[in-house]
Amino acid sequence: MINWFKFASPASFYPLAGKLWPWFAALATAFCAAGLWISFFVAPTDFQQGEGYRIIFIHVPASWMSMFIYCVMAFWAAIGITFNTRLSGMMSAALAPTGALFAFLSLWTGALWGKPMWGAWWVWDARLTSELILFFLYLGYIALTSAIDDPRRADKAGAIVALVGVVNVPIIYFSVKWWNTLHQGASVSLTKAPSMATTMLWGMLLMALAFWMYSIAMSLYRVRAIILEREHHAGWVAELPEMQR
C-alpha cells in the first residue's frame, strides 16, 4: 500500500505540489484552447438566442466548478476533522478563493447572459439565487478563517463552516427552487434553454475540464504559499534550494 500519510506532511507536499502544478496549468491551457475553439468556431449559432448563448460555455462550467470546489473543501474539512492532518486545512484554505472567484464569475456571466435574454441584469431564478447564496457561503468561510489569528484554530473552525455549508447547500437549492415555482418566476433556464447539441455539450465539457485543471493548479500553487507562511520556523524550510542565496 502506498503511504498516503507521507504526502500528508507539509514538508513533503511542498516540493510535490511544486512539481505537479505546471502540468495541471499546461493541461488547463490545452483544454481551454480546445474549448474556446469549439465554443466560437465549431458550435453553430443558436436560432433563438443568436450568438449571445455562447456565454454558457463559461457560465455553466464556472457554476459547476464553484459547487464542485465547495464539495472538495468539505471533503478536506472532513479529512481534517477525522485524521487531524495539517495539510487538509491548508488545502481548504487554498481552494476557497478560487471557489469564490468561480461563484462570482458565474453570477457575472449569468447577469450578462440575462440582460439580452430576459431584459434584466438580475432575475430571481433558482439557479442564480442558489449561486448567490453559495457565494455568500464562500465569503463567510473566508471572513471567518481570516479573522482567526491562530492558523490551526482557523482551519478547524473553517472545516466546521464548510461541513455545515455542504449539508445546507442542497437544502438551500431545493428551498429556492420551491420558492421560485411558488412565485411563478422566470421559467427559462440557462442550461435548458436550447435543445442542447452535442457540440455544445463538448464545448462546455472542455471548458469545465479547463477550469478544473486550472483550479487544481491554482490550489497547488497557493497551498505552497500557505505552507511556507505557516511553517516558516520549521527546519526543512531553511534547507529548501530556493532559500539558499
Binding site: D150, R230, E231, H232, H233
Partner: protein, 204 residues
C-alpha cells in the same frame, strides 16, 4: 494514580514545553512551577482535557484518559483563572448550579453549610456582582467542599485570598489529600501542605 507521558504543547508555532512526564499517586500533590509563559496553565488545561496535547498521553488508574473521557470528567474538579461565577446569580445559586453541571446536585442545606464554612455566611443570597474579588474566589472554592472528585486541578487557587482564607484553603486541601485524593496545582507562592508531594518545573 495519574500519569503523564511525554506531554508537549504548542502555542501558535512555538513549542511551549515537551517531554513532560509525571506521576501523582493517590493522596499526593504536585505543584507545577515556572516563570510566566512557561505553560503552567496550558499543562493544567491539557490534563483536564480542555486543550489537546501536541504529543504524549495521560493515564488515569492505568487506563488512557482519551478512551474514557466522561468517566474521567466525573472524577475531576477543575478550577481555572476565571472563577465560573455568574454575576447575576447569588452565591447559593452559583454553587448549586455548578454542582448540578458537574453531575452531583446539592441540596440547599449542604450548599449553605459549605458557604458558611468558607466564610460567606449571611451573603449566600446576595447577587455575586456585589461580592469582592476574594469573595468570588471563595464561592468557587466552596465547590471544593462539596466535591466528591478524586482529582483536583487548581490553577492559582491562592490568588486574591487573604491570609485567613489561604490557611483555610490549605486545610481543605489537606483533608482532600488525607481522603486519598490527588491534587495538581500551580502557585507562585510557597505552599505548605501536609502529606507528600513534589514539584514540576516548566521552562528552562
Amino acid at each position: 494514580m495519574l500519569q503523564a507521558h511525554g506531554l508537549a504543547c504548542d502555542r501558535g508555532d512555538r513549542r511551549l514545553f515537551s517531554g513532560v512526564d509525571f506521576a501523582v499517586p493517590a493522596g499526593e500533590w504536585l505543584q507545577v512551577e515556572g516563570p510566566n509563559g512557561a505553560g503552567k496553565t496550558s499543562l493544567l488545561r491539557i490534563v483536564a482535557g480542555l486543550a489537546a496535547a501536541a504529543e504524549g498521553h495521560l493515564e488515569w488508574e492505568g487506563q488512557a484518559v482519551a478512551e474514557a473521557r466522561d468517566a474521567f470528567n466525573a472524577r475531576l474538579l477543575y478550577l481555572g483563572h476565571a472563577p465560573a461565577i455568574k454575576d447575576d446569580l447569588s452565591a447559593l445559586e452559583n454553587l448549586q448550579i455548578a454542582a448540578a453541571v458537574a453531575g452531583r446536585p446539592l441540596d440547599e442545606s449542604t450548599a449553605l453549610a459549605a458557604l458558611r464554612r468558607i466564610g460567606l455566611g449571611g451573603r449566600e443570597d446576595l447577587p455575586s456582582r456585589v461580592l469582592s474579588q476574594g469573595q468570588k474566589r471563595r464561592v468557587a472554592l466552596a465547590r471544593l467542599l462539596c466535591s466528591q472528585a478524586r482529582l483536583w486541578i487548581l490553577d492559582e487557587p491562592f490568588v486574591a485570598l487573604d491570609v485567613a482564607a489561604v490557611d483555610q484553603l490549605c486545610t481543605i486541601l489537606d483533608e482532600h489529600l488525607a481522603r486519598g485524593g490527588l491534587l495538581l496545582f500551580t502557585s507562585h507562592q510557597a505552599v505548605h501542605l501536609a502529606g507528600s508531594g513534589g514539584s514540576l518545573r516548566l521552562g528552562r
